[in-house]
């Protein structure tokens, strides 16, 4: 399997403050990798760094073999779903308008987007929301809105999907349903997924690999190894007994 993301001793500063240091991990093609860590650990910053939205100060970061400084070359191969707080829930757009927004890039400036309707329909089909095409986005439930936002990140048919807290604010059934959808999309589309989450149990049962950070790199590897590691307790500054819980209720294979 090819390396889709390769981070080596990445250091990031924001406003003169070091927020990430010594971050080293890799994501292989077709893997679902979860980024975990306590509040303020720099998980979202790491995701934004992979997207090229935050510059790296030191170290090396490559996406599809291209240094992140030249990410523009591979941007069409990347889909992104930011946190729910990044948008206005009552914004007067239809579901199709929201999905179509994912087609707007620097390449489409002053140009028509080709086969726009077809691409929107396909993306809505991926998330089983075809019948919501003309529905006002503001009328949808939290779970339905998340699916529409996922369709937006899939509309350019990316190979790498970056998801920031996609389950935040959803009730338990909606969280389960959304996680199942991500897993089935990963299988069907051979997607590589990098997912930030607060919910250790949910991400541990879904991911192939976990990356645990708290400003610095703590541990990365198979979920069971990460959850069983003292580094996890150190990162969160508390003691976990997640393995027994995972064994009872988890479904990771």
């Amino acid at each position: 399997m090819k390396e889709v993301i390769k981070a080596d001793q990445v250091q990031v500063e924001l406003g003169g403050t070091e927020v990430l240091e010594g971050i080293t991990f890799s994501v292989l093609s077709g893997e679902l990798t979860g980024i975990i860590g306590p509040n303020g650990a720099g998980k979202t910053t790491l995701l934004r760094t992979v997207l090229g939205l935050v510059p790296i100060r030191k170290g090396q970061l490559e996406v599809f073999g291209v240094p992140v400084a030249r990410l523009k070359e591979v941007r069409p191969r990347i889909g992104y779903m930011p946190q729910r707080q990044s948008f206005e829930r009552r914004f007067p757009l239809s579901a199709a308008d929201v999905v179509g927004g994912g087609l707007l890039t620097s390449e489409t400036l002053l140009r028509r987007v080709s086969a726009k309707d077809e691409k929107i329909k396909t993306a809505l089909h991926f998330v089983a929301m075809e019948s919501y095409h003309n529905r006002p986005f503001q009328d949808l439930s939290g779970g339905e809105q998340q699916r529409i936002l996922l369709a937006r990140s899939l509309v350019r048919q990316p190979e790498l999907l970056l998801l920031d807290e996609p389950n935040a604010g959803l009730d338990f059934p909606a969280q389960q349903s959304f996680t199942e959808l991500i897993q089935s999309l990963k299988k069907e589309k051979s997607l590589t997924v990098l997912l930030v989450s607060h919910d250790l149990m949910s991400i541990a049962s879904a991911a192939d690999k976990l990356v645990c950070i708290n400003r610095t790199m703590h541990i990365h590897g198979h979920p069971t190894d990460v959850l069983n590691s003292a580094s996890l307790d150190e990162a969160y500054r508390c003691q976990f007994d997640l393995i027994s819980t995972l064994d009872k209720g988890g479904s990771h294979s």
């Binding site: 523009k72 990044s86 206005e88 914004f91 757009l93 308008d97 927004g101 707007l104 890039t105």
Partner: protein
């Protein structure tokens, strides 16, 4: 009505109402969606400094005010992004500083400047052909910008982070929107004055937002409300002793109140239709 149209000043005022009403309500659409209402008030009050500076130095106060308005809008966006200061804090600083500069300069005036009072409180009836040309020019520039970048502007208003991640030049387009907003405020000051102009770029969009679930309908309604307010206020001020700027804002406020009152009826009708 015919009698009203016989006067040259009324013909110019109606044309100004058409231009400014359309322009303000188009910008209002973005102001409401991007939550920039306070910036509108900040720009207009800061421009007082530019207007006063123009009067003292002999520069056309509309030009000097425009430079201040556009400069305020763009630097607010720039400082809030670079300096990590919230936009409302930057606006709060500009708002007071611009007013203070204006008051300091005005208090040093020797003589009487009738233009100053027209710009402070607005007087659409005193609009000259020169002013109309300036308004039309601003309208052409701003409309061209909005038409060219409409899809991108809507997406930036909805989710700036996603737009940036997609590779859109978010900062450039957003700065363009702020410049358009500054220019719109300055052009509209002749209609409603420094004190009331913010209402023209907030109320039409806010009213349309209450009644629309689709951005195309919202833009259309915003323009309709803006024009009804501009023409309605102008007619009222012709027949009753009310200054046109105040009359226009009061008509817009009345439309907003009516929209708030009828919205539940719209919602019920829509719900019944779905059932």
């Amino acid at each position: 009505m015919n009698e009203m149209l016989e006067y040259g000043f009324m013909q110019r005022a109606l044309l100004a109402a058409l231009l400014v009403g359309t322009l303000c309500s188009t910008i209002s659409f973005f102001v409401v969606l991007k939550r920039l209402s306070f910036l509108g008030a900040g720009i207009s009050h800061t421009s007082l400094g530019g207007i006063a500076l123009g009067l003292i130095t002999g520069v056309d106060p509309v030009i000097s005010g425009s430079v201040f308005a556009v400069g305020t809008a763009m630097s607010t966006g720039y400082i809030s992004r670079i300096g990590k200061i919230s936009e409302d804090t930057v606006i709060g600083i500009y708002y007071a500083s611009g007013m203070a500069l204006g008051i300091a300069l005005i208090s040093s005036f020797k003589g009487y400047y009738p233009e100053l009072f027209a710009l402070l409180f607005g007087n659409i009836l005193s609009v000259s052909t020169h002013d109309l040309i300036f308004m039309a020019l601003a309208m052409v520039i701003i409309t061209a910008f909005v038409v060219i970048f409409f899809r991108e502007l809507v997406m930036i208003c909805f989710d700036e982070e996603m737009a940036e991640a997609g590779g859109l030049p978010v900062v450039v387009i957003y700065m363009g929107l702020l410049a358009a907003m500054g220019l719109t405020v300055m052009v509209s000051i002749q209609l409603a004055g420094v004190v009331l102009v913010a209402a023209l770029i907030v109320i039409p969009g806010a009213t349309a937002y209450r009644l629309s679930k689709n951005y195309r309908a919202m833009l259309f309604l915003s323009i309709v409300f803006g024009l009804v307010g501009s023409f309605g206020g102008l007619f009222i001020s012709y027949y009753y002793p009310v200054p046109p700027g105040a009359a226009i804002v009061l008509v817009l406020a009345l439309i907003f109140a009516l929209a708030m009152a009828v919205r539940p009826l719209f919602e019920n009708a829509r719900q019944n239709k779905l059932e």
